[in-house]
């Protein structure tokens, strides 16, 4: 018995992970820490209380309900107003003409004229209107698919119509409409001698 105890005394102390982790229980803040903790907590609690009261008060909940009810109408109003303001941007010509017209109308409305006086709207010559219309028309280009003389008969090259071209009515000259795939039957159908 005594021998065993002596052996146990000589044996180095074993330290387990659990014992090591239990040291963490001794990590405690000093007493004054809790005074500060309590002060901070009171402040935060008060702030939280004020925030929740302001959110839940009947005044704000009434205002919130009214705002929600009026939201669709307000959205419609905003949409209409923004359309009226930005209308030129939606037009195809970039809104230049409309902006100019609007500016003219605004100018006329804002100018201090006598109610009985006649409003003179400047006339636009018809030729100018036509010229403007011609300019705004879309330009289109037509391409023909023609074969090049001496080229591989199975191959078609795209040739622009503006190119100087002398049609030769020879049996080997083939005129084919654009985009037709070359098959025997198609070639027969679209070949002119």
């Amino acid at each position: 018995m005594d021998l065993n105890m002596a052996n146990a005394k000589d044996e180095p102390t074993r330290i387990t992970l659990e014992e090591l982790l239990r040291l963490k229980r001794a990590e405690r803040p000093p007493a004054e820490f809790w005074d500060q903790f309590e002060r901070e907590f009171q402040q935060k609690a008060m702030q939280a209380l004020v925030e929740s009261e302001s959110r839940e008060s009947p005044f704000w909940s009434g205002v919130g309900a009214r705002v929600l009810a009026a939201a669709p109408i307000a959205a419609l109003f905003v949409a209409a107003a923004s359309y009226l303001i930005w209308q030129p941007a939606f037009l195809s010509d970039g809104g230049e003409a409309a902006t100019a017209d609007a500016a003219l109308v605004l100018e006329m409305n804002l100018s201090p004229v006598h109610p009985d006086s006649e409003i003179v709207v400047p006339e636009i010559p018809f030729e100018d209107v036509l010229a403007q219309a011609a300019l705004s028309q879309r330009r289109t280009f037509v391409y023909d698919v023609l074969d090049e003389p001496g080229a591989d008969p199975d191959r078609f090259d795209r040739v622009m119509a503006s190119r100087t071209f002398q049609p030769v009515h020879a049996p080997h000259t083939i005129y084919v409409t654009e985009g037709v795939a070359l098959t025997d039957s198609d070639a027969a159908a679209t070949t002119y001698y």
């Binding site: 102390t13 074993r14 963490k24 405690r28 803040p29 903790f37």
Partner: protein, 209 residues
């Protein structure tokens, strides 16, 4: 020869626990009936334990103070929904642990540790003396080194594994209580604890046998 456990368990004995739970139930009922002062009693009763859990999860005393305060505010706000199916402290721990885990997640790129001093009166002198002999170093220098290593090792664990270790080994909660707090089964708690301890053993191999 194993070192005798000189560190007392943080949890009170079974009888004290049941008394504590019944007194908690009374206090909770008073708070639910509008007695705000009753909540102050609950705060004073649990603030140190909740702070300890959060502190050991975050390893930062300032963050731990903030998170603990937030947890108490959350608990106060939702105490009306507390039905008493679990004990109050389990419910409060759950709020605290969730707040700490979301804080860790939010600040995972910002790692700054600030430690509490180890209270040498409370800490096991036998363990420290044994460690001082083992590592052939001065006791006070060893204490701060050990504190740093322990925190480092805990921070290397995933938040879930760290939580299990903190609640079981440091706070002394049971597997069932931890399962209730973390919303998982006892088996999951045991398996997480086993894995976490293996990891810690590897990190702290210079200090443990």
């Amino acid at each position: 020869m194993a070192v005798p456990r000189s560190v007392e368990r943080v949890l009170p004995l079974q009888q004290e626990e049941s008394e504590s739970a019944s007194s908690d139930a009374v206090l909770v009922e008073r708070v639910q009936n509008g007695d705000v002062a009753a909540f102050d009693h609950l705060i004073r009763k649990y603030r140190e334990r909740l702070f300890s859990v959060v502190y050991n999860l975050t390893s930062n005393r300032e963050d731990a103070a903030d998170v603990t305060q937030e947890a108490f505010i959350k608990a106060f706000r939702s105490i009306g929904r507390f039905k008493g199916k679990s004990s109050f402290f389990t419910w409060l721990y759950r709020i605290g642990v969730n707040a700490a885990l979301s804080h860790i997640k939010k600040n995972r790129l910002r790692r700054f540790f600030s430690f509490e001093n180890i209270n040498e009166e409370v800490s096991s002198t036998e363990i420290l003396e044994a460690l001082a002999v083992k590592t052939n170093s001065d006791k006070s220098a060893l204490l701060s080194e050990l504190q740093e290593k322990l925190n480092e090792a805990l921070q290397k664990l995933s938040p879930k594994h760290r939580t299990v270790v903190v609640l079981f080994e440091i706070e002394g909660l049971s597997h069932a209580e931890i399962g209730e707090i973390m919303g998982c089964s006892e088996g999951t708690v045991r398996s997480r604890l086993h894995y976490a301890k293996q990891q810690l053993q590897a990190y702290l191999q210079d200090y443990v046998d």
